[in-house]
Amino acid sequence: MNNLRLVVFFLVLSILFSCASNQNNEYITSDSISVSEFSSSVELLVSNTNFLEDEILKINAKNPSVQRILVNSDVYLREGKLIQANSELERALRITKKEGAIYLRLAHLRHIQGLLAESKSFASRALLIKDISSWERLLLNVYLKRPI
């Protein structure tokens, strides 16, 4: 009976914490989530780049100045001007390195540019930032789970 309680408790906790499960020698940082088993909306994020992009661009920076730069970058991204979008993101990063919103966009931009390993590295780097939201964390994990 005690064991059964423990199993139920573990199941609840495992959903809450969504602990990392990938151990196949890839460099995954501490908080990677088993996205493929998470939910259908997550599957959609993984499979549909446009849907993912929409979600990424909804993430705002906490710093209003950085947010304005991100808006410029988003416009360039939508226009397909990837070099300019990147310049804006780097400009934002020089103001602060604590915003998950910047790294998310960098991960996404590199993904679009076909630089998948770099995309993963940006996502992985962002997971070291303190105080990023669970939703940002989940979106970052999408880039970690995408095949190279």
Binding site: F10, C19, S65, I69, N86, L93, A117, R125
Partner: protein, 765 residues
């Protein structure tokens, strides 16, 4: 058949010869005119700039560094800034009239600071602004052999007052003559006689352009004739606007070291630090006045002459009703206010320029760089660069004072980079940093001494199932047969330290424990770590490798430490940000690249040991408050016989590496601590890096352990230190002697999860 040569036929032949020669001369001059005006004049050397400074809400700013940068940008203090290039700073408030750069418009802005952070930016209407951008500093160029430097202006960029001033002073009849004007010559003659001074020249602007472009300044009839022919040909081929624009872009204004400053665009930048569109009438009058004698009326060398000449030109403008009498008096009363030249030769910072050249070489040919007017924006931070140069010079002087003149020939190199992005902020390649020549930052390949040890310890910590920071290492006598000889390493203090925890061995930089650890790990494992850190060179399989016989350049060494300082994320170092063409479009960018080479947790553990270097190790002496707020860490290095003194350390967002030694490799009296670390300290104390937040490592927990046995201890126990462990690898044995003071490690959330997972897996099994 005989041809009878009569006087008449000889005359015809002579006429034909004269005609052919004249026609040939005209044809040659014509070809030179069109070639030069269509081609060479419009070839512009690539210009190299520092990074431009952005200030935004949340930007961390050191006031002293900001003031230094404003000084370098030639901004001047004025209690109520009203013109571009003026500012005032009081009570954490900067009011500044920006000159404007790219998308940043010129105007008055107010920037408020609190505790070194920008809190608010408003424009002159009091409306909140998110970001302001300062113009970058010109630091060099890629010049053709004649070293002509110019900023090319288009017709729309030329202010009308500049045109009025040039025409009033140099050629009032410009739009009416055909290249030569007898009226101008006679009018100039009478004007000058009346004024008792040379107010006007007799040559038209077209003649002056012809002279500047094709001829020397020798006063001979032959030259005057050639010049007149060229002037007529120029008028024949080009419109008046094209001729005037060519003149505006070509006139010689000053010699600055090896550089020849040509054109009003470059003149405005060289003398006033701004673009020609920002110049006021008195400044334009000064530049136009200088045309008569660039050296005689140079405002830096001959300010009195320059002032008189400027006022004369202003008088001409007033006579021509381009300005009124009250403006004339106001302009005349103004001081010249010229700025210091930003650089006098090919570059202000030779070592950094070398790096830029190396990066450019991969994408551009030399002629492209010398002719296409490319604008190279680099990552150089001018304040950090100046500080790094001063720190090397200052430290060398201090060391000479302490150790004597034997250090007169001491050389050095240093680099400062942004940890996360790999942007190179400052580089020094010599103890005399402005000197051109051997750049030690990239070309001095020297044994790195103990700088190699973190690579060995990282190899161990990466095998986190086998090693952690309190794994006990053996620092007793070691004898190894190597290459037919017995190799017996020694510690710097000539002592053996027995059994010691791994982290202590690193921050105390013990050679024997490190050598034993390297041998235990094996050459292949160590080589793998080297590769991950970006070191391409193969290691030589001698045990002395593990204590510092490995050779690297300062540039390669700091690259490998970048990966460590960035928690395992490798970013190639880059000096260039982007390259724009003449129209301001990005021609090539050098984006931020990142590659995760190592798991962050083992690197975090290594960085803890490197932080101890500052707290209790070979770089001790810094206040703990600074070490914590900068998340600082470092490593000293000294090669055999103290031939090389190294220090590498991270503080805030900066990673800085310093090397000192002699070019001929003779021993120095310096260790890493007494030499290179002093440069590092002088630099860091001067620039005062901003604090950084700690990263998040949920899989790491901190436990009090004993500095000697590495077992669990407590805050209240003697010799205890809080050490990080990857969860699941931490010690849990409390020795009986510390039963009273030791505290049993608390279980973290992740511990509980691990345990539950285990139970669940067992249950399933």
């Amino acid at each position: 058949m005989k041809i009878k040569l009569t006087l008449g036929s000889l005359g015809i032949i002579a006429l034909i010869i004269v005609f052919v020669i004249s026609a040939s001369v005209v044809a040659i001059i014509d070809s030179r005119v069109t070639n030069k005006l269509d081609g060479v004049l419009w070839t512009i050397p690539a210009k190299v700039y520092s990074r431009s400074l952005d200030l935004a809400e949340g930007s961390k700013v050191n006031k002293s560094n900001l003031m230094k940068e404003l000084g370098m940008l030639s901004y001047s203090e004025n209690r109520s800034p009203s013109k571009p290039g003026e500012f005032t700073y009081s009570k954490d408030n900067l009011r500044i009239f920006l000159r404007g750069y790219e998308d940043q418009k010129s105007g008055l802005f107010e920037v408020s600071f609190k505790d070194g952070t920008v809190t608010k930016i408003t424009n002159q209407l009091g409306i909140s602004v998110d970001i302001v951008r300062f113009e970058p500093i010109a630091i060099g160029g890629m010049y053709p052999s004649h070293m002509e430097d110019r900023i090319l202006l288009s017709w729309s960029q030329v202010p009308s007052i500049l045109i009025d001033t040039i025409l009033s002073v140099e050629d009032q009849n410009f739009f009416n003559h055909k290249g030569i004007s007898f009226r101008s010559i006679s009018r100039a003659f009478f004007t000058n006689v009346k004024a008792g001074d040379i107010e006007q020249g007799g040559s038209t602007i077209t003649q002056q352009l012809a002279k500047n472009l094709f001829f020397t300044s020798e006063q001979t009839i032959k030259r005057k004739v050639m010049e007149a022919i060229a002037a007529l040909l120029i008028e024949f081929h080009y419109s008046k606007e094209e001729i005037l624009l060519a003149y505006i872009n070509d006139v010689f204004l000053a010699q600055s070291g090896k550089r020849a400053v040509h054109g009003f665009g470059m003149g405005a930048q060289h003398f006033f630090g701004t673009s020609v569109t920002n110049l006021e009438t008195d400044q334009i009058a000064l530049l136009v006045g200088m045309l008569k004698g660039p050296s005689l009326y140079n405002p830096r060398r001959n300010p009195n002459n320059a002032t008189k000449r400027r006022n004369l030109v202003l008088g001409i403008l007033q006579k021509g009703r381009h300005i009124n009498s009250s403006s004339l008096e106001e302009y005349k009363s103004r001081p010249l206010k010229v700025v210091s030249p930003s650089f006098r030769s090919e570059t202000k910072y030779p070592a950094f320029h070398d790096l830029v050249r190396l990066e450019l070489r991969e994408n551009y040919q030399d002629p492209e760089l010398r002719t296409q007017g490319l604008k190279i924006q680099t990552n150089l931070d001018p304040v950090l660069q100046e500080s790094l140069e001063n720190s090397i010079k200052k430290t060398k002087a201090q060391l000479i004072k302490k150790y004597g003149k034997e250090l007169t020939e001491l050389e050095g190199a240093a680099l400062a980079v942004d940890i996360a992005s790999g942007e190179i902020k400052a580089v020094v390649g010599s103890s005399d940093p402005s000197k051109f020549g051997f750049n030690r930052s990239i070309n001095a390949i020297r044994p790195i001494g103990s700088l190699v040890k973190p690579f060995i310890y990282l190899t161990a910590l990466n095998k986190y199932d086998e090693y952690n920071l309190t794994t006990i290492l053996d620092d007793s006598k070691l004898s190894i047969k190597s290459g037919g000889e017995v190799w017996e390493p020694n510690n710097f203090d000539k002592k053996f330290h027995g059994k010691i925890p791994l982290h202590v061995a690193l921050w105390q930089s013990y050679n024997i424990a490190s050598a034993r650890l390297g041998i235990e790990l094996g050459y292949d494992s160590v080589q793998e770590t080297f590769n991950k850190l970006g070191i391409r060179k193969s290691i030589e399989r001698y045990p002395s490798l593990f204590i510092g016989s490995f050779e690297m350049s300062p540039f390669d060494a700091i690259q490998s430490y970048q990966t460590i300082a960035a928690d395992g994320f490798y970013s190639p170092l880059r000096s260039i940000r982007d390259i724009k063409d003449l129209n301001g479009n990005i021609d090539l960018s050098y984006p931020y690249k990142i590659e995760q080479r190592l798991r962050p947790e083992p690197v975090h553990l290594l960085k803890f040991a490197m932080k101890q270097t500052f707290i209790s190790g070979t770089a001790r002496g810094y206040p703990k408050k600074n070490i914590e707020s900068w998340q600082a860490g470092g490593k000293t290095g000294t090669s055999d016989d103290q031939r090389d003194s190294w220090f590498v350390g991270f503080a805030g967002e900066l990673l800085v590496l310093v090397w000192l030694g002699f070019d001929d490799n003779r021993p120095t009296p310096l260790t890493g601590r007494s030499g290179a670390l002093e440069v590092w300290k002088n630099f860091i104390n001067d620039v005062q890096p901003s604090s950084v937040e700690k990263n998040s490592f949920p899989r790491v927990k901190y436990i009090w352990t004993d500095k000697k046995d590495g077992l669990v201890s407590g805050q209240k126990c003697k010799n205890s230190v809080l050490v990080p462990f990857i969860i699941g690898t931490e010690p849990n044995t409390i020795p009986s002697v510390r039963n009273k003071c030791a505290s049993k490690p608390k279980r973290s959330k992740s511990d509980v999860m691990q345990k539950l997972k285990k139970v669940f897996e067992e249950g399933q099994g």
